[in-house]
């Protein structure tokens, strides 16, 4: 298996006179979870659809699992998993029936390293749908349907999985379960995952790396920590003294805290240093870009 799952160089997309992507460059390393963030209309969906092989690009080089998705065949397709936002398909089918059926398409693409497809009962247990195995898909709740979509996306043991806003509409418990599922996938399967989300806490929790797309170009690319460090100027120190609560923004949190103790000693209580999270970083970067 190559170290690079996908490579994108100077990707451009134009619809008529409107340029949606104007030179996008990034790569996905094998086994990495990458979150693609950006305001609506930034070109996230277009980028992912080009990588999925669902959309033709205007210019640039794209290599996904060693092939150009615009020309890749069915054997390449078997190594890709896609989970989109708006599946409503196969409503009359039953959960196990559909998973078993779709699994058979992958059987001939199994390799000694990667068994295909995934065992249906194991997969049902993994996404927590065992109790609904014989339910008609049209009767599933939104969260159950979403978990089925994930199961279908991974039934062929993909080496690269695309997740488009995977937890939109999830309640907090379902969201946590889903995060655990993604961790399990990347830990035990060494799958590469590219996901889009508007939930920055989710990106921070799941992603090894974050790519921020705005106005058709990438404005930031790095681990959530690296991105946050760029903004470290805006840390916030909170403490209480004599029952009074204090908040102080500073660009030198360590020095400020040292001085604080030097001055007030033991009377400083409930000390908290808040580094900016991914959300603050994201807001700041997008605002900077837009100006």
């Amino acid at each position: 298996m190559s170290d690079v799952a996908a490579e994108v160089r100077d990707l451009r997309m134009r619809y008529g006179a409107k340029e949606v992507l104007s030179g996008v460059d990034f790569s996905l390393r094998t086994g990495e979870v990458v979150a693609m963030l950006g305001p609506n209309g930034a070109g996230k969906t277009t980028t992912i659809e080009i990588l999925e092989g669902f959309r033709m690009r205007s210019a640039g080089e794209v290599t996904v699992l060693g092939q150009d998705p615009a020309r890749a065949g069915e054997a390449w397709r078997a190594r890709i998993g896609v989970v989109l936002q708006s599946w409503r398909d196969h409503a009359k089918w039953r959960v196990r029936e559909l998973l078993r059926h779709l699994g058979t398409y992958y059987a001939r693409y199994g390799t000694p390293e990667i068994a295909r497809p995934w065992d249906v009962d194991e997969l049902l247990a993994l996404v927590g749908l065992t109790a609904h195995a014989n339910a008609r898909i049209g009767t599933l709740s939104g969260g159950q349907r979403r978990r089925l979509d994930v199961a279908i996306g991974i039934v062929g043991h993909p080496e690269l999985l695309f997740l488009d806003e995977p937890t939109a509409g999830f309640d907090p418990a379902a969201r946590r379960e889903f995060h655990e599922l993604v961790h399990r996938l990347t830990d035990t399967e060494r799958a590469t995952v590219l996901l889009t989300t508007h939930d920055l806490a989710e990106a921070e929790k799941l992603a090894d790396r974050v790519i921020i797309l705005a106005g058709g170009t990438i404005i930031a690319d790095g681990s959530p920590d690296e991105l946050a460090l760029r903004m470290s100027g805006n840390a916030e120190v909170r403490w209480t003294r004599d029952g009074q609560r204090y908040v102080h923004p500073t660009d030198q949190a360590t020095k400020f805290t040292r001085d604080l103790f030097a001055q007030f000693g033991e009377s400083v209580e409930d000390l908290e240093v808040r580094r900016p999270g991914l959300e603050d970083t994201y807001m700041e970067l997008v605002r900077e870009y837009e100006q």
Binding site: T45, T46, I48, E49, E52, F54, R55, E74, A75, R77, A78, I80, V82, L84, Q85, S86, W87, R88, D89, H90, A91, K92, W93, E97, H101, L102, T104, Y105, Y106, R108, Y109, I152, G156, D164
Partner: protein, 278 residues
């Protein structure tokens, strides 16, 4: 080989769904049921100048019609709906999925048509003793129906790939109904003005109906047909012609449509559908 196995498996699962899901079953049998009921109610009427009941004369046409409805409007509707709900995109996202999807629809449509034909035939034979089913007739029925499916399903696939929205299905159903009216199924085509006869004979519905009439009616009744003949040679020719044209045209149209399917397109259609619903 693998694609055929997957596609037929897919079609078989969907036939099972039709048979076990009562709204689908109702829809599948509605047309045949109503037709047979109407024919049964007019069993007292006879073909002018004979003692042959008008119902028995019309029944074979109904069988031919069943095949054409399933092949053209049925497939068109299936494709339009599957595009809107993402089934087609799912097929595109699966290795070998598109081929299996198409083969699955062909299996489903053929299966449904076969069930319709057998059911109509059995009920018809009970209700109208005038029908003459011979071994040769059954053989004719088999090739006419098979060729009829081949002539109509590719048309359905081509039309279904062209329709962007299930709401536009009426654009297919209305002209189809008009063509049915002049296809000699409910009313002998020889009683229509010459130019309408010409138009009727351009389309596969007429030839399907004629072929099935040839298979199931006593030989004497060919006197109501054009040229006083079953013209089976022409039936073969016309249906083969439509099948060839359809098989030539449908794959590239389907491929072009499928190529353009993507998540954002399905999402956009869904949004439009939701707007309509509210």
């Amino acid at each position: 080989m693998n694609a055929i196995r997957l596609g037929v498996g897919r079609g078989w699962i969907e036939i099972r769904h039709t048979l076990t899901y009562w709204p689908d079953l109702f829809q599948a049998l509605f047309f045949s049921g109503i037709s047979i009921l109407v024919l049964f109610l007019m069993r007292g009427h006879h073909v002018p100048g004979t003692s042959f009941s008008l119902g028995s004369l019309t029944l074979p046409g109904i069988i031919g019609m069943n095949v054409a409805v399933g092949g053209i409007t049925g497939v068109t509707a299936l494709l339009a709906v599957d595009r809107e709900d993402g089934t087609l995109l799912r097929a595109k996202a699966t290795p070998g999925g598109m081929t299996a999807y198409v083969l699955g629809k062909i299996t489903l449509t053929s299966g449904n048509a076969l069930i319709g034909v057998v059911l109509t035939l059995v009920l018809g034979l009970i209700a109208f003793p005038g029908l003459a089913v011979t071994a040769t007739g059954l053989l004719t029925l088999i090739w006419v129906v098979t060729l009829g499916l081949l002539a109509t399903i590719p048309l359905g696939i081509a039309l279904g790939s062209t329709i962007a929205d299930p709401r536009f299905l009426t654009l297919i159903v209305l002209p189809f109904s008009a063509l049915t009216a002049i296809s000699g199924i409910f009313y002998p085509i020889t009683h229509l003005p010459g130019w309408l006869q010409g138009i009727g004979q351009l389309f596969p519905m007429y030839w399907l109906g004629l072929g099935v009439r040839a298979a199931l009616l006593p030989d004497a009744l060919k006197s109501v047909e054009i040229d006083g003949s079953w013209r089976l040679g022409y039936v073969l020719l016309a249906l083969t012609g439509w099948a060839a044209a359809g098989l030539l045209v449908a794959p590239p149209i389907l491929r072009r449509m499928a190529q353009r399917e993507s998540g954002s397109r399905v999402a956009a259609r869904r949004e439009r559908a939701m707007l309509r619903a509210t």
